[in-house]
């Protein structure tokens, strides 16, 4: 069957099971859009290419399938870069397709030409420039294979405009030939045995679960292991929900804004079983002081992560689910009663309840708590970056695996709304909540138009404190309250929402919180609530950057607050 490059692209996407593509049109992808109406693919037109990349990312995280975004050459392509980098840092399978100027003018600085394969080299798992139509099908086959296997990640394919119009026989290859690529690693039996010995003899073992557990679908195996051997589980930000957070063995999130029980357990444990995580600095604090008494067993699918930040005593390269399944029978059933009792005492340290009990001020923690209560924890939450993200992580109890989507590694403000678009498109029946700050929300606010156009019933909570709050918090704590360039003004978000045809609410008092959330939930379509929260509330506990996890700053008591 002879097809044009554009047709080969769509046929290949269908072969890969693609149902939705996010993007924006443009001069260098006109052939692709010309062919699109002939294919059963839903195209979601975003208002900015960055949002298309985030939407593809959100779609991928919500469904486990590969997310696809499409943009034209030059500025269209460069606008994708932030979204691609976000997906790269968080190991999300995305295939980004860009148009390129015609082959004869590549390299001449033609109109809307940019070297996008060069630009995305360090933020993609791999990328391709296609200059021959006969290479197109094989390239797509490889790209999807690379994106979804092994440690997932974004792959970009840049297709010259003339390639889209040129014809070739369409043959979709069954196999990929990538001699330098290993998608699957055999479970290393010897290392597992050594790890089991360590676990079976440990007195204070701890599991630290990361995104890899959720990506590989290893949450059942993880819980089974924790329960069998009485091992408490802390998670990274992206590992949240790897074990139900209300499970007695769950210690919650570790790290800079982690729980005292998670951080103290890390510092006190004699065995750390780290699964599907990469010892990010936001988790470890100062790596020199991290888990000082622990033997470290590190399970990760990416060999390059082992020994990169924290030395591993036992290295296990492999898929978290396969590894944990093989590991489970080697672990002896035990209880670590003394250890768990010690940990219980640490739980009391954080004064979690205080922001919830306080009656006068409208505190952001309370807003999150109320969203959790009103949704029965059943929502799929997509959080933005900064204080809102940390409060969400602390005060929304995530019991359902994969119920939180957030930009962990890159920390991309503006991520939440477009990622929620992708998540809602991928899971149309689920209740999707956006939690964002007033700063980040304004970075991709134009996507309210996409929400409206696609009629997506996304609920949006803006924790509006009039600041780029996390940066202000650092300025308060480490830069003598020099609030330089952190105060932000915002429009009336409820009015903006209404202008897009989206129900908008404003909440200024604590007693308005629950009714407003109820109203948003009753609204059949999308709804936005602008919560005017306490401007200078901080996220606690906090480990100072580069500090040890044991040195946590806690939420001030009311007396301490008054004394300031």
């Amino acid at each position: 069957m002879r097809l044009t490059g554009a047709e080969i692209l769509w046929e290949s996407l269908l072969k890969e099971g693609v149902e939705v593509v996010f993007g924006i049109s443009g001069g260098a992808v006109l052939h692709i859009f010309d062919a699109l109406p002939r294919y059963p693919v839903h195209f979601v037109l975003t208002r900015h290419e960055q949002a298309a990349a985030h939407a593809a990312d959100g779609y991928a995280r919500a469904t486990g399938k590969v997310g696809v975004c499409l943009a034209t050459s030059g500025p269209g392509a460069t606008n994708l870069v932030t979204g691609i980098a976000t997906a790269y840092m968080d190991s999300v399978p995305v295939v980004a397709i860009t148009g390129q100027v015609p082959t004869p003018v590549i390299g001449t600085d033609a109109f809307q030409e940019t070297d996008i394969t060069g630009s995305t080299l360090p933020v993609t798992k791999h990328n391709y420039l296609v200059t021959e139509v006969v290479d197109l099908a094989r390239t797509l086959r490889e790209a999807f294979h690379l994106a979804r296997t092994g440690r997932p990640g974004p792959v970009l394919i840049d297709i010259a405009k003339d390639v889209q119009a040129a014809e070739a026989e369409f043959l979709y290859p069954k196999e990929v030939e990538l001699p330098g690529y290993t998608a699957r690693h055999p479970v290393p039996k010897e290392a597992l045995k050594r790890a089991a010995e360590l676990v079976n003899t440990a007195r204070r073992p701890l599991i630290l679960a990361g995104h890899g557990v959720l990506i590989s679908g290893a949450h059942r195996e993880l819980q089974a292991l924790a329960e069998r051997a009485g091992i408490p589980v802390a998670t990274t930000l992206l590992g949240i929900s790897a074990i139900p957070e209300s499970h007695p063995l769950s210690l919650g999130m570790a790290g800079m804004h982690g729980t005292p029980q998670a951080n103290r357990a890390i510092q006190a444990c004699d065995l750390l079983l780290a699964v599907g995580m990469r010892f990010d600095d936001r988790v470890t604090g100062s790596p020199r002081t991290f888990a000082p008494s622990a033997q470290v067993v590190h399970v990760d699918i990416d060999p390059a992560e082992i020994g990169k930040n924290v030395r591993a005593d036992v290295a296990i390269v492999g898929d978290a689910r396969e590894v944990l399944a093989a590991f489970l029978p080697l672990v002896e059933p035990t209880e670590h009663r003394e250890w768990l009792e010690e940990i219980e005492a640490w739980r009391q340290e954080a004064r979690w309840e205080e922001p919830l009990m306080e009656g006068n001020r409208l505190l952001p923690q309370y807003v999150i708590h109320e969203i959790w209560r009103a949704t029965g924890g059943e929502a799929l939450v997509v959080s933005d970056v900064g204080q809102n993200q940390m409060w969400e992580a602390q005060y929304f109890v995530h019991d359902r695996p994969g119920s939180l989507i957030t930009s962990g590694g890159l920390g991309t403000m503006g991520f939440a709304l477009p990622a929620a678009i992708g998540a809602q498109v991928g899971r149309p029946k689920d209740l999707v909540w956006v939690v964002a700050g007033d700063g980040g929300f304004q970075m991709t606010i134009q996507e309210l138009a996409t929400v409206a156009q696609e009629e997506l019933p996304i609920k949006i909570a803006i924790l509006n404190n009039g600041y780029l709050g996390m940066v202000r918090q650092w300025q308060e704590l480490f830069f003598t309250r020099n609030y330089c360039a952190t105060p932000v003004t915002s429009p009336d978000f409820a009015l903006v929402a209404e202008a897009y045809g989206i129900a908008g609410f404003t909440v200024k008092r604590r007693d308005e919180v629950a009714p407003a959330i109820a109203k948003a939930l009753e609204t059949p379509g999308p709804a936005l609530i602008d919560f005017h929260v306490e401007p200078e509330e901080n996220v606690y506990p906090m480990v100072a950057p580069g500090g040890a996890l044991s040195e946590m700053i806690h939420h001030p008591t009311p007396a301490e607050r008054r004394a300031r």
Binding site: L121, E177, L178, G180, P303, K308
Partner: protein
């Protein structure tokens, strides 16, 4: 410590760029890099000299192997291997000194490859310290130009592994 790595890579456009870009962004130090076709069509073999402690070198190796077009990376440091470098040197050698220069050339088993009125172009092969010493000894005569290939290495004994790639078109 300086390590010698031998990388087997797919011979495709941009592979060298991917590798060098990786070194730049992760701040690894390349001292030299030599690349050329291997015995197998579609595969190049590259010799890299990298400065770093064992932990850094382990990371370099793993990060390189993470590149899709990189098939294998071997650290040959400390292994029985033949290590060579080639240099071309233009040295001043006017008639009064010409004999002295050619004598040095013979001692180092180097070769004169071009002759001009007042200078000679010399080709020398060997381990780096031999090349270094040769250049040092030529310096009093006036070394005008030096070009060096960087280190290439091959492990002694029988070939350990066969590499294959599918060459399209």
């Amino acid at each position: 410590m300086r390590h010698t790595l031998v990388a087997v890579v797919e011979d495709k456009p941009g592979v060298l760029n991917r590798m060098v870009s990786l070194f730049r962004r992760r701040r690894y130090n390349i001292e030299s890099l030599a690349v050329g076709h291997s015995e197998t069509p579609g595969i190049s073999r590259m010799t890299l000299v990298v400065e770093g402690n064992d932990r850094v070198i382990e990371q370099v190796k793993k990060q390189l192997e993470k590149l899709v077009n990189v098939i294998e990376v071997q650290d040959v440091t400390g292994k029985p291997a033949v290590i060579r470098e080639l240099a071309l040197i233009r040295v001043q050698a006017p008639p009064p000194y010409r004999a002295e220069v050619t004598q040095l050339v013979e001692l180092f088993r180097a070769k004169v490859v071009d002759v001009d009125h007042d200078s000679l172009m010399v080709e020398v092969t060997g381990a780096e310290d031999k090349v270094n010493q040769f250049i040092t000894l030529l310096e009093p005569f006036g070394v005008e130009e030096v070009v060096r290939t960087g280190r290439v290495a091959m492990v002694r004994g029988a070939k350990a592994k066969e590499f294959k790639v599918n060459v399209f078109k």
